[in-house]
Amino acid sequence: MADTILAKLKQSILDFDEDAALEAAEESIEAGIDPVAAVGALAEALNELGIAFEKMEVFLPEIMLASDAFKNALSVLEPEIKKKNAEGKKAIPIVIGTVQGDIHQVGKDMVATFLATAGFEVYDLGVDVAPSRFLEEAKRLDAKIIAAAALMSTTRPVQKDLIDFLEAKGVRDKYIVLVGGGVVTQDWAEQIRADGYGQDAIAAVELAKKLLHVA
């Protein structure tokens, strides 16, 4: 019985089906399945999708849908985990956005989606985000990571502004700053003293996990 429900949960993610995910999550609670195991089944599906994405077997809109299905299921499972106090750690908050003056969103969306599917609590600030807004939101949400994207040579300096801003406010050490985008390189990340650079969405997730010491 438990196996069937866990398989159903996993399948709901693989099918990108928000309603089925919610239904299966509720079913798992009713059946007394450990919510941590239920989240494990969801994570397994997301991992499979991540691999399929790299092979170009599934695509960004589907990952976005899977991410929504995951969130739906989590809305039922998370309170149960908290109740049981079993591994009830809050997901790590991350704020992400494309820097001020830049309206490109595809790369940023990909990173945001993959961070969410990796279990982070992602707050997507959208595009054209001012350094001050990154800071305000990071403070408000108690974020651990600020991820800033830039796709144009002309907007790349705003990534440096963000770091300058954090330093000026004396909070640079509070946040891990990740940078990325079409014109961003490892050299640039080092030059502006960012904490990391991800060449793509998958690399960004690995980097975030590594820097936060999470599996």
Partner: protein
């Protein structure tokens, strides 16, 4: 505005105030994507390894029908109002019917007239039908003139995108929306005009849109010293099938000014546009959306791999060639720039020339303009040089001389791909190849002997592969 929808833009843009309300995420995941997938399946469009230059007309017809149906079904999202702009089939057909057969870019003696060109048509005029040189990415202040001159001294280049980005004004970073962006654009345009004059090519068309903000573009719109009416500026249809009021304002401004508009098929393969087959369908819809909304004088194919920025990968070439050819076969749109707008490897490498050749062979065979000049994913400093654009034209000329069929072109590009595709697969191609300083003598602005040796080596190998390049 002079062609395509001919003045209908007010009505069409206005639909962004009344069309179906659709939030962005809903558009991406529930409207655009499922329909794109359905149509790609319905028309049996499939990507397969080895497909680079299209050889089957039925396949192009299928991509055309699917792309057209996609645009008619889902429309284009105006992100500013979160409403979709929809068109009827009759409106689309009328706009296509109204397209010109030729367009003229530039002014005076330097003006070029580009006709529509069919596939494997080597008798209606020179091949390639035109050459676009492209300078893109950050350029050092001390090299700004030299890099531009390296293109201007190349007689085979007809049209240049002087999009080298000035990063500082008096040591102050140039940020979007700042007065420094306006100053940088004024400086950029006037310097380029001066260089064009000094090269004896004052009317050479320039498609160099560099500012992020429209106000900075407008600052350089001056018929005496600034953007000329023969020049071309970019309007953006964002991935995938989205636009906004800022882009409409750009189009409105430049059309009112009397200059030209360029736009691109911009599918992110592996990202929101899906795999190569869906991305090619999306590409047709992108190009049609430009025709309906922005009356472009020049269009281009600019797909890229979503996970590793490359315009010249096997997937990007497929989408550019198949999407572009489907559009070209069913319209008489005159000026379509083909694949590989910028290369992935640095300019001083064999791989850079191989990428350029792979793009130019398909483009010349299909009747598109060829392009070249920029390397290192357009993100490295000073990664541009005129020799790459010269090489693209020479490849195109050789295609014309050999009268390559599409089948032969496809075979040839498939022989070239192994020379660089593995480095795209392992995501290291951008680390190869030096910049302008390593490639050119900075005093004479001529390619250094060792750079010419690389260029000549690739040409010799192309001859060994059967392409009569001189």
């Amino acid at each position: 505005m002079s062609h395509g929808t001919k003045g209908k833009f007010i009505e069409y843009w206005g639909r962004g105030e009344t069309g179906p309300i659709t939030f962005q995420k809903e558009f991406d995941t529930k409207v655009y994507w499922p329909r794109l997938k359905e149509l790609t399946k319905k028309y049996g469009i499939e990507y397969a390894p080895g497909k680079v230059v299209p050889t089957d007309d039925d396949e192009l017809d299928a991509i055309w029908e699917a792309g057209k149906e996609l645009l008619l079904d889902v429309g284009i999202l105006n992100v500013s109002t979160e409403r979709r702009i929809l068109f009827t089939e009759e409106e689309l057909e009328a706009a296509l019917d109204n397209l010109p057969n030729t367009v003229t870019l530039g002014e005076g003696q330097d003006a070029i007239t580009i006709p529509h060109r069919g596939f494997e048509d080597y008798d209606s005029g020179p091949t390639p039908v035109g050459t676009m040189g492209r300078i893109l990415g950050p350029i050092s202040d001390d090299l700004y003139d030299k890099i531009a001159l390296s293109y201007l001294q190349e007689p085979l280049i007809d049209y240049i995108h002087f999009q080298g980005v000035k990063t500082e004004i008096n040591g102050i970073p140039v940020k979007p929306g700042s007065p420094f962006e306006m100053m940088a654009e004024q400086q950029h345009v006037s310097v380029i005009n001066d260089l064009k004059r000094r090269s004896g090519r004052p009317g050479l068309p320039d498609g160099g849109s560099t500012p992020v903000n429209l106000q900075a573009e407008m600052a350089a719109a001056n018929p005496l010293w600034g953007v000329k009416k023969g020049d071309v500026r970019h309007v953006y249809i964002m991935p995938q099938l989205k636009t906004d009021y800022d882009q409409m304002s750009r189009a409105y401004f430049w059309h009112s000014y009397g200059a030209n508009i360029w736009g691109i098929l911009q599918a992110y393969i592996g990202g929101a546009a899906g795999g190569p087959a869906t991305a090619a369908v999306n590409g047709v819809a992108d190009l049609l959306a430009y025709v309906m909304l922005y009356e472009p004088t020049l269009l281009g194919t600019w797909p890229t791999d979503a996970l590793y920025f490359s315009n010249s990968s096997k997937y990007a070439l497929y989408v550019a060639n198949y999407g572009g050819a489907a559009f070209s076969k069913h319209t008489h749109f005159p000026a379509l720039v083909g694949a590989s707008w910028q290369q992935t490897a640095g300019i001083n490498s064999e791989e850079y020339f191989w990428e350029t050749a792979a793009g130019a062979i398909g483009s010349a065979t299909l009747g598109f303009l060829v392009s070249g000049g920029t390397g290192h994913q357009s993100s490295g400093l000073d990664q541009a040089g005129g020799l790459g654009a010269r090489f693209a034209t020479e490849v195109g000329k050789a295609v014309g001389k050999a009268r390559l069929t599409r089948v032969q072109a496809n075979e040839l590009v498939n022989k070239i791909l192994p020379k660089y595709q593995p480095l795209i697969d392992n995501r290291t191609l951008h680390t190869i190849g030096g910049d302008f300083r390593t490639a050119y003598d900075l005093k004479t602005i001529q390619p250094k002997p060792e750079y010419l040796a690389i260029y000549n080596k690739v040409k010799a190998e192309l001859r060994d592969l059967g392409l009569p390049i001189t």
